[in-house]
Amino acid sequence: MIKAILVFNNHGKPRLSKFYQYFNEDMQQQIIKETFQLVSKRDDNVCNFLEGGSLIGGSDYKLIYRHYATLYFVFCVDSSESELGILDLIQVFVETLDKCFENVCELDLIFHVDKVHYILNELVMGGMVLETNMSEILTRIEEQNKLEKLEHNRLMSFRAPSNPSTPTPHRLGSNIFFFT
């Protein structure tokens, strides 16, 4: 089982947190902080496994992480998961992100954390690995995005695109037009 998936940057700012076991918000932040401290002090040329993390799990749990540019991807798993398998899974996750965001960078994760969650939901469900085949994952994501787009277009067909900074009378008028 995967107990938690955390993504944070080189300064420990959380970019994604997914806990498959309930912790309250304070505890979650503490876990993120502790994990960051454990992971960040390690060189890039050491192994990607780490025991410990007193807050989450215990002796049965391992932290398996990868470091990409400015981001750490950390999976907290128990002994029923294969260490190398999870490393591959992180790779799949990141490659999927790369495909979906076209050359993914930290900013994409900052501004589209919801989308990152949707992508993650196609890989892992409730702490168990759902799918590891990237093309299958991508199809599922695209199809769901299509669904959203369809609804969006339907919405937009009667509602003008709203730009919060410039509510011009023209747009207002167009709205009224639609409702009459």
Binding site: P14, V46, F49, S82, G126, M128, V129, R140, S162, F179
Partner: protein, 971 residues
């Protein structure tokens, strides 16, 4: 209506969306909290609006804030509103928020039941998938019970995407609602052979999770998995299957024998390192389970070790780490095959990666022998000097002690060397293992009689230079060593060359800064030394005449009497009490001295501390029989009235009294309130009394250090550091150096081929002089552990993980091969019908409140359930047969009759149970009927809450969807 819409849209234009929020937070780094507080106010306003898109936007922002650590549970009702939207976009936002913020104890979850059910049965596979993903994060026992059947239905969906998710979801359902496991299991088993490999993989995943905790129930699936393993090419699934086999083999050696061959083939053929590694791991597990009776398993071990060597030698640190990890598993059963790779493992000790060094350390204890122990320890000591992190240093220290002390110091040929290592360890800064070193010193001094003179000399030096140990604040835990030193010097004072000097060291003013329990030991041992000096200064009879000796004794008495009062003033009760006793004793001796009647006094004081030390087994307490007629749980006095619960604070005693006397504890226990707490208090009191007794009894001193080690923090700030001015003094003259012994060993290694049989059963034998002479150079170790009570082992009392009462897997430990009984079905909820869920007898956990219970009337059972039932019986029966064939491919029938017989017996045993349970069931049915009537009669409101609550949301949803429809219609 339309006007309101317009107004909503107009306002929406001023709303921040998620991007704006994130941007705003980034732009307001200085006053982030203020900005976010403002945003939360805005969000609260937005949530009050009726426009669903505004709400969805607000909920999306809340999800982001939740990640930042803000508690957003106040908005859970709004989250449900957004979840119930008909639009996929909003539904997605809602479910995401729910999966991040809800948990099984969230109260509003009961409102979601019908909504989630509707989503699960949605035409769109993505809506159903969304519901499954979300549900997997927050499913509660109630939801699991109510939705189990709907998720079961999805297991046979035509879409692999949904089947896959539903299979994984079932695991979560089992965890929360264990009764679902048996009825659902046949269907889950089918999924192992699903045409879609993703579904297969998910099913394997679920069974692996289930089997990890209760492997024996899944042995019958071995043939299916075996087939999958030999046919599948999906590495991810193979890894899971192979891991599962690793858990199953300890229960069924025959399975292991069958596995070896295909696994070896995989090891040879696969190119995936992850698969290779798991194969090796499982082969190791197999070999451990059949360590005997397999002629050619040495080749398999060789293969594993060989492959692991390749992994360890790899430049990839990850493989190196895993190689060492697997190596340590082999070490337990086949130490010899690992020992041949000693060079490699010692090399890993120098690796730059701490994780790898730690793994190599784990392996070390199997690597040591009499010959190389000194060298390895030397290496570790050097590492320790270089190590940066204290945690790594602590690990090194405990490993040194572990490898040296394993098997009653089996590998130690020279105890002088070991003691000097321990003494060197006391100089390590900032370690938390002071008590460990102290314990080792005590243990060695007690068990190895021949080394005592040496230990005493070293300890006297330590006491004399105690400022090195207590000099720095970080060394606080190391001062435990002084505890050992003082005790050893006192107990074996006959070996002291200059008892007076040691006595002076014990009486120094600085001692008063030590923790209380150490001071107490100091006082006790001051008296031992004092007695020794009295007896040794001339024969007692002639003392009165010998003026020089008398003067010396008087001087010592004077000194002790002058210094003891500083202990009497101690704030530690224990120290105070012992010191004032000691002081009175010394004063008495002084009086006798002046009267000239001191003859024989020394011997009498020594006799106070007389007695032979024998090892006490850790579980010796069990040997003490409880006298007949004594009920330990019975009240001795009348339990105090429960009204006095305001005296609660009494129970929390200040730490000062933590080791206080029993009388004190008794008074408090009498005053304290609740009966439950009182029993705890009683236990506590007994423990304290025992601790105190042990502290007073020198025979118990070994444990005393641990028990009390936390009772006092000593203030190092007051320690005068002036004496540290001389850097030269850092080397204490006379203190043994372990290097010295290492060199000596190298020189004399050729000579030192001595027989190493040196186990002795009882200490009394050791006193006999001829044995002593023979054993002296070998340092006899007293390996007696003391008498163990019958049936107790050294390790018992350590609870298994499985004994954790909160582990949901406990409830999942059910026999899955037994055919389903008629009443074992998943609860089916038909709309607004008073339905009661059938309980399946003794295994059923405590009932949920009967209001929520529903009853399935057999006549109204939905067809799907009948189908399922038949399925269950159908698929169960045949698997029993082939499984026998699977185990017994060769002539291995000898083990068979036993198992089949026992099965029969079990079945016979169960028959009467079933009868009785059906009787009780009927009774409980009647009761429930009555209860239901009551509920209905009592108050219609209450009952409506119970039965109709779930329908509340759909109503709400209807209104909402109506609204949305309006929009659509208008457009």
């Amino acid at each position: 209506m339309a006007l309101r819409k317009v107004k909503g849209n107009l306002e929406r234009m001023f709303d921040k969306n998620l991007t704006d929020l994130v941007r705003g937070i980034r732009n307001n780094k200085d006053n982030e909290t203020k900005f976010i507080a403002q945003c939360i106010e805005e969000i609260k306003l937005e949530l009050r609006q009726e426009n669903i898109s505004v709400k969805a936007n607000a909920v999306a922002k809340l999800t982001y804030l939740q990640m930042m650590g803000y508690d957003v549970s106040w908005a859970c009702f709004n989250v449900i509103e957004v979840m119930s939207s008909t639009k996929f976009t909003y539904k997605r936002i809602g479910y995401l928020a729910a999966s991040q913020t809800f948990h099984p104890d969230t109260e509003v979850l009961m409102l979601t039941t019908n909504m989630v059910r509707k989503d699960l049965n949605s035409q769109s596979q993505y809506e159903a998938g969304l519901a499954l993903s979300g549900l997997s994060c927050f499913i509660s026992p109630d939801l699991a019970r109510d939705l189990a059947n709907d998720i079961m239905t999805l297991l046979s969906s035509t879409r692999p995407y949904l089947r896959k998710k539903a299979v994984l979801m079932m695991y979560k359902v089992f965890l929360r609602f264990p009764e679902a496991l048996r009825p659902a299991f046949p269907r889950l088993k089918e999924k192992l052979e699903d045409p879609d490999s993703g579904v297969q993989s998910a099913a394997v995943n679920v069974v692996c999770e289930l089997a990890r905790k209760n492997p024996k129930n899944y042995l019958s699936l071995a043939p299916v998995f075996f087939k999958l393993m030999t046919t599948s090419t999906n590495n991810w699934m193979l890894i899971k299957i192979i891991k599962l086999f690793g858990a199953l083999t300890p229960l069924e050696p025959r399975l292991g024998k069958k596995l070896i061959e295909p696994l070896t083939n995989l090891i040879h053929s696969t190119s995936a390192m992850s698969l290779l590694y798991e194969c090796i791991n499982t082969v190791i597990a197999v070999l451990i389970s059949i360590s005997s009776g397999m002629p050619n398993h040495s080749t398999s071990i060789q293969l594993c070790v060989q492959k692991l060597r390749i992994l360890i030698e790899d430049s990839d640190q990850n493989l190196k780490y895993l190689g060492l990890l697997a190596m340590s598993k082999i070490l337990k059963t086949h130490p010899k095959s690992v020992q041949s790779h000693k060079d490699l493992i010692l090399q890993c000790l120098d690796d730059k990666d701490e994780s790898i060094r730690l793994r190599a350390l784990d392996l070390l204890y199997g690597m040591v022998s009499k010959k190389n122990l000194m060298e390895i320890v030397k290496k570790l000591m050097i590492h320790m000097d270089k190590a940066e992190g204290t945690s790594y240093r602590d690990e090194l220290l405990s490993k040194i002690i572990e490898i040296c002390s394993q098997n009653n110091y089996q590998h130690i040929t020279n105890f002088e060397w070991y003691v000097s290592v321990l003494v060197e360890l006391t100089r390590m800064e900032g370690t938390k293992h002071g008590p460990l070193v102290a314990n080792q010193l005590l243990d060695v001094a007690i068990r190895v009689a021949a080394i005592r003179a040496f230990v005493v000399a070293q300890m006297a030096l330590l006491l004399d230079n105690s400022h090195f140990i207590t000099g720095f604040s970080q060394r606080a835990s190391m001062c435990e060593v002084l505890f050992a030193a003082a005790w050893i010097c006192g107990e074996f004072s006959e070996f002291l060359t200059d008892p007076k000097a040691t006595l002076e060291a014990l009486l120094r003013a600085r001692v008063s800064t030590l923790p209380g329990h150490i001071q107490a030991v100091y006082v006790q041992n001051i008296m031992k030394l004092y007695g020794r000096i009295l007896t040794s200064s001339g024969s007692d009879a002639s003392m009165d005449e010998d003026m020089v000796a008398k003067a010396a004794v008087e001087e010592v008495s004077e000194m002790v009497a002058a210094r003891l009062p500083s202990f009497v003033e101690s704030s530690e009760l224990e120290v105070q009490e012992r010191a004032s006793c000691a002081l009175q004793l010394v004063k008495f001796v002084q009086k006798q001295l002046t009267k000239g009647q001191a003859a024989g006094l020394g011997a009498e004081i020594v006799s106070l501390f007389d007695g032979e030390l024998n090892p006490v087994a850790p579980k010796a307490q069990k040997k003490v029989q409880v006298p007949e007629g004594l009920d330990l749980d019975e009240w001795i006095n009348e339990p105090p009235p429960s009204e006095s619960s305001d005296s609660e604070p009494e129970v929390q005693r200040p730490s000062l009294f933590a080791t206080g006397n029993a009388e004190n504890a008794y008074v408090e226990s009498y005053q304290s309130s609740k009966p439950a707490e009182l029993t705890q208090e009683e236990v506590q009191r007994n423990r304290e009394a025992r601790q105190q007794e042990q502290a007073c009894n020198p025979n118990y001193l070994k444990g005393g250090g641990k028990l009390e080690s936390k009772s006092g923090m000593f203030d190092v700030a007051e320690v005068p550091v002036a004496q540290l001015d001389l850097p030269v003094a850092l080397k204490i003259p006379g203190l043994a150096s372990s290097d010295h012994y290492l060199q000596k060993q190298k020189q004399t290694s050729s000579k030192k081929k001595v027989s190493t049989k040196k186990k002795k059963k009882s200490k009394k034998h050791k006193e006999s002089s001829d044995e002593e002479e023979l054993a002296a150079p070998l340092h006899v170790v007293n390996t007696d552990v003391g008498e163990m009570p019958e049936g107790a082992t050294l390790s018992d009392g350590m609870d298994d993980d499985n004994n954790d009462l909160n582990d949901p897997h406990r409830a999942l430990d059910v026999n899955l091969d037994e055919p389903l009984r008629a009443e074992e079905t998943l609860p089916v909820r038909s709309h607004r019908e008073a339905v009661k869920f059938e309980v399946t007898g003794e295994k059923k956990a405590k009932k949920k409140s009967s209001k929520k219970e529903e009853k399935v009337k057999k006549s109204k059972k939905q067809p799907i359930m009948m189908d399922l039932l038949q399925n269950g019986e159908h698929t169960n029966a045949p698997t029993e047969e082939p499984s026998n064939d699977f185990w017994l491919d060769h002539a291995e029938y000898e083990a068979m009759p036993d198992t089949s017989q026992s099965k029969l017996q079990v079945e016979e045993n169960e028959k009467p149970k079933k009868k009785s349970s059906s009787k009780t069931k009927e009774k409980s049915k009647e009761k429930k009927k009555k209860k239901e009537k009551k509920v209905i009669n009592e108050d219609s409101l209450v009952s409506s809450l119970a039965v109709e609550a779930p329908t509340f949301v759909p109503d709400l949803k209807q209104t909402m969807s109506n609204k949305d429809k309006n929009v659509l219609i208008v457009s």
